[in-house]
Subunit: 245 residues, 2 copies
DNA sequence: TTGCAGATTTAACTTATGATAACGTAGAGA
DNA sequence: TCTCTACGTTATCATAAGTTAAATCTGCAA
């Protein structure tokens, strides 16, 4: 992928920057996060970081690459719930809910930093403010999930896709992985379809519709937004649900 | 509705019982929750408890009745995100996210107990364990949201409806508002449709399909599950995502 | 270069769901 | 009793999206 996010690339620095994008952190908070011991691991594309049914003893922080959470139904259909990008901690909830009811999968090659639950718990116990920031982060994850519900329930395919493109642009921009209305979107159309509740054929049709409308191009995994306001209108996109400061 | 939930009907007692259904609470925790000052208010059916765009200064606890969170799109379509029943605190998140991006609406006549944010914050600051239980509760709310995503994305209308009926049965049973495979479902078919991402006509068709399959009856707001295992199979329902102890 | 595998695109056809409108029913209140 | 209203039901037609299959295209490795 790419090394954005400013100078200090260490896992704690990334986590601090991420949490500070949605909450206020004091120097004491930053210091406490800075002490967290992380173990860094790289996963090849399309491999599982956490399996459905696992009971992890650690949380992970995406450093580089993308991941998604998904579940497979009995008939083999898949639903992708959410995408995670650098700075995100996709499984903070495993601190509280011990069995993962969905898997976490690396999309392209993805580097992840793990912190043991016990270290996270110690941090949370000793630093209420950081606990609140983490809690807040999980709540924002939930608002994104609700936005997904509205998309699936009440938007048509083209609007859903436009909405996802808008959301990812805004999120990637906060970690300096998008600018100038373009970003790397390492998804196949089949994965896009699984996220949007579509068949891959219809995902393809919808994408072409967006192209035909002159809103985006997507070629070689690079998404270019040609008409932001048109795209946002098509999506009825209002970024306030992301609760960025 | 009905007065279930055992002997002590006070708001703190209800909250304690609810949190204890998904987390361990010590006597000290229970004592601390018991001290929370609540203000009780009753809302007529189809009135707004919290408006979209509000910045509430209090959290609410449903004592009696049902409520739902919803948002209305530009074209007038509505999406209901979640239903809340006695024992639920639908807007704990307002402690952390100050503007509600959706409304909270009472369905039938609904009684609600309000706690001021400052009192909740004091409780959370002084009692980490209760904070963790509340956090955990918001995470379970999020797992329900994800379950909704899977329903909307990958299940057909009949399966979606079956899944909702299963979930509400299990949830209502934990607060003694359902037993013997039946419960009060105070929703119109139009509301059911808004929750399931369907038109009301198709919600009606799907309901009739469930009846024809011999799985449920719904008459005069009473839902009777005639064939639990058939319904659960149709829904591919697995209650583990509710994380009940 | 060639061949291969995965990804995208296109086409033809089917199906689930939406939209609209008419009609039925039951309860509330005059 | 009558009327009004909110809901539920039914029918018809329109359309978004699914399914299947085959034709390209792309990148990659031999």
């Amino acid at each position: 992928m790419s090394d954005a996010l400013g100078s200090d690339q260490s896992p704690p620095a990334l986590l601090i920057r991420k949490l500070a994008s949605t909450a206020q952190l004091s120097d004491r908070d930053r210091g406490a996060i800075g002490m967290l011991p992380f173990a860094v691991l790289t996963f090849p594309g399309r491999t599982s970081i956490v399996h459905e049914g696992d009971a992890p003893k650690q949380c992970c922080l995406i450093l580089d690459g993308w991941a998604y959470r998904c579940r497979t139904l009995a008939n083999g259909q898949r639903q992708i719930f959410a995408f995670y990008v650098p700075g995100d901690m996709p499984d903070i909830e495993s601190l509280h809910l011990h069995v993962m009811d969905q898997g976490l999968v690396a999309i392209a090659q993805t580097t992840v930093a793990f912190v043991a639950h016990k270290d996270m718990r110690a941090l949370i116990q000793s630093n209420t403010n950081v606990a609140m920031a983490l809690w807040r982060d999980t709540l924002i994850d939930a608002t994104r999930c609700r936005e997904r519900v509205i998309s699936l329930g009440r938007r048509q395919a083209v609007g859903r896709m436009a909405h996802l493109f808008c959301e990812m642009y805004v999120r990637l921009r906060t970690v300096a992985l998008a600018d100038d209305l373009r970003y790397l979107l390492p998804l196949t159309q089949a994965e896009l379809a699984d996220a949007l509740g579509l068949s891959s054929v219809h995902a393809n049709r919808s994408l072409q519709e967006l192209r035909k409308m002159g809103l985006v191009t997507l070629h070689r995994r690079e998404l270019i937004i040609q008409d932001w306001s048109g795209l946002a209108t098509t999506a009825e996109f209002d970024p306030s649900y992301l609760h960025l400061i």
